[in-house]
Symmetry: C2
Subunit: 96 residues, 2 copies
């Protein structure tokens, strides 16, 4: 069974990511993205979707035009795990 | 300049759509969708994205795994217009 990261582990991992922050009211991390337009935003989402499916670990996300907001949490344990960090790291790798 | 639908027009159009409802706190319409899994949900989103780009009229949407929630409104007039109805009708045409 996958384990939640401790607060110290989570803080340590967040420091290695780009712009991800802890969500206030739940054990999850979030980052907001802004692209040039919808084409670029949805292209990004498509790359993340394919990776998420491969990892069998999926984001919660909102999009309007050039903006995307992604929240990551591991539903099975209701908190942030290594899987979220790995997906966040991939997401960072496909953004500037 | 595109015009907002009147309440009567909007009600009449909503009656011809599948499961779209007026949003309570703003002039917009919304529908929730549930698919078999993420592959099906994101495949649906991709069809809608391509159509939205062609129409130059984009949704606000949220996805988590097999669930998608779509809100439509025309930002230029801050309300529901014929463009929203047309996009909703396309969305209905690609869902059961």
């Amino acid at each position: 069974m996958i384990q939640k990261l401790t607060s110290a582990e989570r803080a340590q991992q967040l420091a290695t990511l780009k712009g991800w922050q802890a969500v206030e009211d739940r054990d999850a991390i979030r980052r907001a993205f802004e692209f040039a337009d919808f084409n670029e935003a949805f292209g990004f989402m498509t790359r993340v979707a394919i990776k998420a499916q491969e990892m069998d670990h999926h984001p919660e996300w909102f999009n309007v035009y050039s903006k995307v907001e992604i929240t990551l949490s591991t539903h099975e344990v209701n908190g942030v795990t290594e899987r979220d960090i790995r997906l966040a790291r991939f997401i960072d790798s496909v953004t500037v």
